[in-house]
């Protein structure tokens, strides 16, 4: 082995800050979360003796399973809807050149310079009873009284989630499309392929890793979402994140909240494991073949 290839002590030290960062901000909170899930809560605070009480109460109530199932369903559908919205946007951006491309990329990013909560809140004056849509429909004479079912239901949750997470899907697809060799598309055109054939046989297969990567990001974020269903959802469209947050913030039952978080993590990890078996780990997490 040459001197250049030999791993030196200095190389290890260079990695140390990243390792410390990971240990402090990723591993330690996870260990604490799992530990707390085996504690018990009372009106006097937490008791740090080992107990399976939280997991027992979780298993003994079917509502947790129902909400978990609903959460996974919402996450999958939101991911699919995001893909349907994002791919055409990414195609459009990739087709632009020069200043126009820069302008539209900035426009895409613009809403994401504000906070997640503000971007979710903004739907309320649009969808609400006295909101923009109702005002427009009434002024056009299409309806004579405001629609009261545009918000606070599952449909509004999908809309909110797709809106706030679209960028995480659009960006990797756009980058993959932008890096696509134009010669491949020209060659397909020269050989007489139609636009649809070029898309199906050249563009889509080459951007699939970016698609899976975007899907993974959106799915993960949706599984843990709680602000959007809280602000835009109705009583029956609450997600697992809402139950977890209510245990931590309202009920003061940290062990049950932690146990629910552990269950959610396990379900998400299992979903990603199954997806990586099907599509490959590199595709899901790195966005490449």
């Amino acid at each position: 082995m040459s001197e250049k290839q030999k791993p030196g002590i200095s190389g290890g030290w260079l990695v140390a800050p990243a390792m410390v960062w990971l240990a402090l901000f990723a591993l330690a909170p996870l260990v604490f979360l799992v530990t707390v899930s085996f504690w018990t809560a009372s009106m006097f605070g937490l008791t740090s003796s080992f107990s399976l009480q939280s997991y027992a109460s979780l298993a003994g109530d079917s509502i947790y399973i129902r909400v978990l199932g609903n959460t996974v369903k919402i996450a999958i559908l939101t991911t699919a809807l995001s893909l349907l919205v994002s791919y055409p946007i990414a195609l459009f951006l990739a087709s632009l050149k020069g200043k126009r491309k820069m302008l539209f990329v900035i426009l895409l990013f613009l809403p994401f310079w504000t906070s997640y909560v503000v971007r979710t809140f903004v739907w309320m004056p649009i969808l609400g009873r006295s909101g923009l849509i109702n005002a427009t429909l009434m002024s056009m004479g299409i309806i004579d009284r405001p629609l009261d079912n545009l918000v606070f239901n599952e449909g509004a949750v999908y809309l909110g989630l797709v809106y706030v997470y679209t960028l995480y899907m659009t960006l990797p697809i756009y980058l993959a499309l932008d890096k696509l060799d134009p010669a491949l598309i020209e060659a397909a055109n020269d050989l007489g392929a139609s636009a649809w054939q070029t898309f199906r046989k050249i563009i889509l297969p080459l951007t699939l890793p970016a698609v899976w990567s975007g899907c993974t990001m959106v799915f993960l974020l949706c599984c843990g979402a709680f602000v959007t269903p809280r602000l835009l959802g109705g009583p029956s469209s609450q997600m697992f994140g809402n139950i977890i947050s209510s245990q931590f913030l309202d009920a003061g039952n940290w062990p049950l909240g932690a146990a629910l978080s552990v269950v959610l993590m396990v379900v998400v990890m299992l979903s990603l494991y199954l997806a990586s078996r099907r599509f490959g780990f590199q595709s899901l997490f790195m966005g490449r073949h």
Binding site: P125, G128, R129, S130, D148, N149, V151, F152, P235
Partner: protein, 180 residues
């Protein structure tokens, strides 16, 4: 607080939201909890003149999913500010708690009540027993009232008033724990 109210019925339909419908969102964002400030804006998202028309003792009748959305307490404080009662077919979980905390006498689970009353009817509700009488139509209905412990908070005027009353009672009776 008297748990029997008699007054005009103000009927609202299903899906009344907390933010926007019952109270402008800005008060939730400002964390405004002063009843005098919130009262003039009650239900203005649905009926802008509602605060001027309503009188103490009147009763709001809501449909399904009343006070839904992010459970901010401002709309319920607005109801309390006017001295109104509340009868609903169903109410969002967080708003159920907020109604108790704001000291609003209410019946939370009155299936089909929207079909039995109209705005302007003179109705009487005993929130302790769950009996609703529509004097205009000559009909009477029985619904499930709140638990006694919840009614106790409402009778005291909400969680804050109840807490203050308890602390005052402890001082009066000198029940404060003696220093070690």
């Amino acid at each position: 607080m008297n748990l029997t109210m008699r007054g005009r019925c103000w009927k609202f339909g299903d899906n009344v939201g907390i933010d926007g419908d019952m109270m402008p969102l800005e008060f939730a964002l400002k964390r405004e909890t002063n009843p005098a400030v919130l009262g003039p804006y009650l239900m203005t998202g649905i009926d802008p003149d509602f605060p001027k028309k309503v009188k103490p003792g009147d009763i709001i009748v809501g449909g399904k999913r009343f006070a839904q959305g992010n459970p901010h307490i401002q709309g319920l404080i607005g109801i309390s500010a006017h001295g109104l009662g509340l009868v609903v077919e169903s109410i969002q979980r967080g708003s159920y708690r907020n109604a108790i905390n704001a000291g609003v006498p209410f019946l939370p689970n009155c299936q089909g009540v929207s079909a039995q009353v109209e705005t302007g009817d003179e109705i009487e509700v005993n929130f302790a027993t769950g009996v609703l009488i529509n004097h205009t139509r000559g009909t009477q209905f029985q619904y499930q009232p709140l638990a006694a412990s919840q009614l106790e908070i409402i009778t005291a005027g909400g969680w804050r008033a109840q807490l203050e009353a308890r602390v005052t009672a402890m001082r009066v009776n000198d029940l404060r724990p003696s220093p070690p």
